[in-house]
């Protein structure tokens, strides 16, 4: 791994090519003239974002896709989103600025992720890719089966692919071994990969056995106007600790259940405000009942995204107990609201905020309690900076415009790379993913290719109506708005 990296560096330095990625040994990409690269920054892409997770579901991945798409639209690219149908919401919808969303009727299996058979989503996804003239397929989240499927199909159809990994995985247990194998297969011929933090990049490179040069690090961002401090709305007669997260194992709710009784016994003026819903809620409820803390631990249940800020500003300290986290948006939001942030030192969290804004602890009850105690004593003595100062410091750290710019460069780079032909792809799969998995997935790739041929015969491209662009270079969205008559029948 090390020798390969050096070679990449040398090559980049020698050729002065902005594209630092060493081309794959069996691809003729290195012959691209550098002029194309310079021109390509002006080039507009047609991007299809694919993920199982999108609005109306709420979460980090969902808002990432939405905000990134909006900023890319602003920069003149054409963006469509493909996700699965959420209950009654199926078909085609338009969001702000002509962001087109396909809610495809695919069966949901578990945790909002679709069932995968590698093939059954091909007809619909092919239809989307063809009629929208997609050039780049950007899949999100390794938990999303639809994203994996879309990458697989896009490669079969010869489109450029980009993948964003939003989460960290372990290596030890059986399920992560299987997921990592799947990720290896999916990513071995993907053009470019985006990770949200350096730790996440290391994790992904290890899991999927990737060349680190095709992995870019682009963090998430937070809209600072949504998270403004409001010291007036908090009760200064007591100290409030806010926790906003889904109540699941990965977010360390068991740790929280250990912290609450210990700190509440020590500080009689301490309150907990917990927003979120999940299977671990029962742990907190049992703790509350056991120690009679009904007036000091408030469980707010599921929060809408717009209510999060109003909850955050009611507290003094923001606590994050995650056991694993690629890039913690929650602590940025907390700091943006001017709170003192206490967090576990896991995953990419140490990279997110400067040391003066966050107190990092080990993911144990005793370490977290010690960290919280120190912050509480600082809060009591009044030696913490005012919320407005913290907000001012945080607000320009992560902005969506910057993220979109950097992602655009990733697209430019991905578009310069060739998409592997079927034989090359089969060879790559076999050489990269081990004998057994490689052979199985080569077989799948062949079947998928045959299925694509069958579909091309059954439903030829010339019979598909090209979609009218709502966004992108020749968007009719703005034009039609000026005319005062919109083609979009569904005002959402």
């Amino acid at each position: 791994m090390k020798s390969r990296r050096r070679r990449g560096d040398k090559q980049a330095a020698a050729s002065c090519q902005p594209d630092a990625h060493p081309p794959a040994p069996h691809s003729p990409a290195s012959l691209l003239p550098s002029g194309t690269a310079r021109r390509s920054s002006q080039k507009k892409h047609s991007i299809c974002m694919v993920s199982d997770f999108f609005y109306p579901n709420m979460g980090g991945v969902e808002s990432h896709i939405y905000q990134l798409s909006q900023c890319l639209l602003e920069r003149g690219h054409k963006v469509v989103i493909a996700t699965h149908a959420y209950g009654d919401r199926r078909g085609v919808r338009y969001l702000t600025n002509g962001l087109k969303v396909y809610y495809l009727p695919l069966q949901v299996m578990y945790n909002q992720s679709t069932a995968t058979s590698c093939f059954h989503s091909l007809p619909l996804l092919r239809c989307v890719f063809v009629r929208e003239h997609i050039t780049v397929v950007h899949a999100h989240s390794s938990f999303s089966a639809m994203a994996h499927d879309a990458l697989f199909h896009a490669k079969t159809m010869g489109l450029n692919t980009v993948f964003t990994d939003h989460s960290l995985f372990g290596f030890a247990d059986l399920s992560s071994v299987l997921t990592n194998k799947l990720l290896t297969v999916t990513l071995c011929d993907t053009n470019h990969i985006v990770c949200v933090s350096y730790t996440s990049k290391e994790n992904t490179v290890l899991r999927a056995a990737l060349n680190p040069d095709i992995v870019s690090v682009i963090p998430n961002a937070v809209d600072p106007t949504d998270f403004t401090p409001d010291p007036g709305s908090r009760d200064d007669s007591k100290i409030t600790i806010v926790v906003v997260s889904r109540l699941v194992y990965r977010k360390g709710i068991d740790l929280l259940g250990g912290i609450i009784p210990e700190l509440c016994a020590k500080h009689p003026d301490l309150c907990f405000l917990i927003g979120g819903e999940g299977p671990k809620r029962i742990v907190l409820e049992e703790v509350r009942e056991k120690y009679q803390l009904h007036d000091r631990v408030r469980l707010l249940g599921a929060l809408d995204h717009k209510d999060v800020r109003d909850v955050l500003v009611q507290g003094h300290i923001f606590l994050n107990t995650s056991l694993t986290e690629a890039f913690c948006m929650a602590i940025v939001e907390g700091a943006c609201c001017g709170l003192q942030v206490v967090s576990t030192r896991v995953g990419g969290i140490p990279e997110v905020l400067p040391d003066e804004l966050v107190t990092l602890c080990e993911p144990t009850v005793s370490s977290l309690c010690a960290g919280l105690e120190s912050v509480i004593s600082r809060q009591r003595s009044g030696s913490v900076p005012p919320p407005a100062a913290i907000h001012h410091q945080v607000q320009n750290l992560y902005t969506w415009r910057n993220i979109a710019e950097r992602t655009e460069k990733v697209y430019d780079q991905a578009c310069q790379q060739p998409v592997l032909t079927l034989p090359a792809r089969l060879q790559r799969l076999r050489s990269h993913c081990g004998a057994v998995a490689g052979s199985i997935f080569s077989f799948m790739a062949v079947i998928n290719f045959l299925f694509l041929l069958f579909l091309q015969w059954l439903h030829p491209v010339h019979l598909m109506d090209a979609a009218i662009d709502a966004s992108g270079p020749d968007s009719c969205w703005r034009k039609s708005f000026k005319k005062g008559k919109s083609k979009d029948p569904h005002p959402d």
């Binding site: 396909y102 009629r131 109506d465 979609a467 029948p489």
Partner: protein, 182 residues
């Protein structure tokens, strides 16, 4: 007044669009799909009967034959009476309303008239149909309780399913008339 274009439906079968201008505010669009092909009917009938005969040969039960004949006959009658649509007509009369009618292969005609005061707009929409995504023309019906809301959507040319170029043509002339009558 009739205009013929090289129009096809979404599966590539040729259809014809006939547009008749009665007055500037009254137009009629007729989309006709190809008639039931006799060859196809014969093919289906023959295959069903051959199958029935094979079963009869194995079981030596004559009810198989008679039931096969009944099934083909009833199936054919149901098909031409309820499924196969030969012609779909859209009659738009400015300030009065829009009338949709479809003529089945058996000669049965079903008609709906929607008054202009109930119509919010005519639009081209996208929908997922079977395993593909298609464009279709539809009428938006006003919600009486909410002036800007849409109560329901009435799809047009549901059985012939023309492609976008045909839809755009109908859409444009419909919009002309609707704009006039406002």
């Amino acid at each position: 007044m009739a205009e013929e274009g090289p129009f096809t439906d979404i599966s590539g079968k040729p259809i014809s669009l006939e547009c008749q201008n009665y007055t500037p505010f009254c137009r009629e669009f007729t989309v006709s799909s190809p008639k039931v092909s006799l060859l196809k009917v014969m093919g289906y009938t023959c295959s069903v009967w051959l199958l029935a005969y094979a079963v009869f040969f194995l079981t030596e039960n004559t009810t198989v034959l008679s039931s096969a004949i009944m099934v083909t006959l009833v199936g054919m009658i149901l098909h031409i009476h309820f499924v196969k649509v030969d012609q779909e007509t859209l009659l738009i009369i400015g300030s009065l309303g829009i009338q949709l009618s479809s003529l089945y292969a058996s000669g049965r005609e079903s008609t709906t008239f929607i008054e202009m005061s109930k119509i919010k707009d005519i639009v081209i929409n996208e929908a997922i149909y079977m395993q593909s995504i298609i464009y279709y023309l539809c009428i938006l019906i006003k919600d009486p309780s909410e002036p800007d809301g849409v109560a329901s959507v009435v799809p047009l040319f549901q059985s012939s399913k023309p492609r976008l170029n045909c839809l755009v043509r109908v859409y444009k002339s419909c919009q002309e008339i609707i704009a006039q009558s406002r």
